[in-house]
Symmetry: C2
Subunit: 296 residues, 2 copies
Amino acid sequence: MQSNLKSVLDTKKAAVEGALGIYSSCSGDGPAEIHEAMGYSLFSNGKRIRPILALLTSEAVGGSEEETLPAACAMEMIHTASLILDDLPCMDNASYRRGIETCHRKFGESTAILASMALLNKAYRVLAEWDASGKKGERLKLQVLKEIPELVGPAGIIGGQIADLASEGKALDFEALEYIHSRKTGSLFIGSIRIGAIIGGASEQELRAATNFAKNLGLAFQIQDDILDETGDLQSMGKEGKMDKRRSNFVSFCGVDKASEIVRELTGHAVLSLQIFGDRARWLKEAAYYLAVRDH
Amino acid sequence: MQSNLKSVLDTKKAAVEGALGIYSSCSGDGPAEIHEAMGYSLFSNGKRIRPILALLTSEAVGGSEEETLPAACAMEMIHTASLILDDLPCMDNASYRRGIETCHRKFGESTAILASMALLNKAYRVLAEWDASGKKGERLKLQVLKEIPELVGPAGIIGGQIADLASEGKALDFEALEYIHSRKTGSLFIGSIRIGAIIGGASEQELRAATNFAKNLGLAFQIQDDILDETGDLQSMGKEGKMDKRRSNFVSFCGVDKASEIVRELTGHAVLSLQIFGDRARWLKEAAYYLAVRDH
């Protein structure tokens, strides 16, 4: 990764960590255990890709980091909530995530499930309490609040997870895999990028371009994940490698080489969508290339 | 129950069922299984107490049924979401609820957990998409959206459930029981009644009175639940009786007679809070008396 991009991503990541810390510290009411479990998963060395994409997209259309941070953090909370559920014994039954024990291994199943629920709820809280007075105020806030439920619900992450679990032991074709992953992973990529664009004040045309960018990037990211799952190990991945082998994935469908070619192609399409933003999307573009060649 | 009150409650219940049906039918995207599981639990013969209380409270301060229904339905969705989780093997491990198999017994654990998450998410969707243009429009909508996260999160239902699970095998005093149940049951009573009041256009003073009514009624309702759990059976309760005996409850703490006395006292306090509404709160008052003497 170029040192310039690295410093941009590090700065954005630090801003996200800081904001997440503030949201977590000012909600101390209720049993300590639930806050511990939420914090354990939320601050477990996540890459913060989704909120960073929200920030970079907002800036590409003229928005500021400050006004985008609350919604960006909400997306990370939803992401973390979905990971906690994915790892449960009745789902992927995973023991490690991001290099540490999964939430249910650390806090027990019931607390993990409630922590996941609480993180989704917290995301809505952050959005409801967000002071969006800056630009278009209440209307902007409601517009963002309307984007979220679709991404999370049966047509989004939750539906993707149901389809993913149902696919166990079945040989899936590219279309079926894409159905699952456009929902499971794609939804939050699309959501983060669209919300960044909306908060930044994107025109209709810019919002369409950003959505197109997000669709291609989300799928590229997921296929790269499958490639790493085939070739990686616990140490570099932070989770058990090859776990996804018990289910069809893009690599089992077409092999590592073909999958890598598709990743490059999708990333190319994604970056092409950014043309209308010109130089303002420079970091977004570089981040897309970086995500497509990442090794963890 | 007086036949007049019965007809009021039946009419309100029918309005809630109708609205819930509309919200469920227009969201067909995603795997059929998740919609089936959500619908199975949402339409499993619930008494609809919370949304009915929201409607009656709204009307007591001059609001209409039509403008209150969406938020009232959202409260029922949140209630159903919390019941699905309570019943899970890692929580209460219940086999029956409302006279039929629990969601996880019918659809499996992973689908039940995702259906619960989807119902919470759907509640936020209904509120975000609610057309509150009638009275104060967007401001009213945001005010209602701000009420919910606190009721659901660590200080509300989720925190109450954590404390409840942690209490297993411990002898609790009245204060500890009240801590658990003011969160587990109380939160949604308070939320439904406050939201009804807010949508109906309550003054600050009226909102305080409604909140006070809700706190006392919620606790009375829970204690009555414990009494029924001691004296009821599967047939009249629709769930396994005495299941809560493995945990302390109000009856195990002070016996059926004393518990019944407390229910009457709390109900009296609740109804007193309604004085400032005068005759407009007639049905709310009658409903409170009815809830306190219910036998299922």
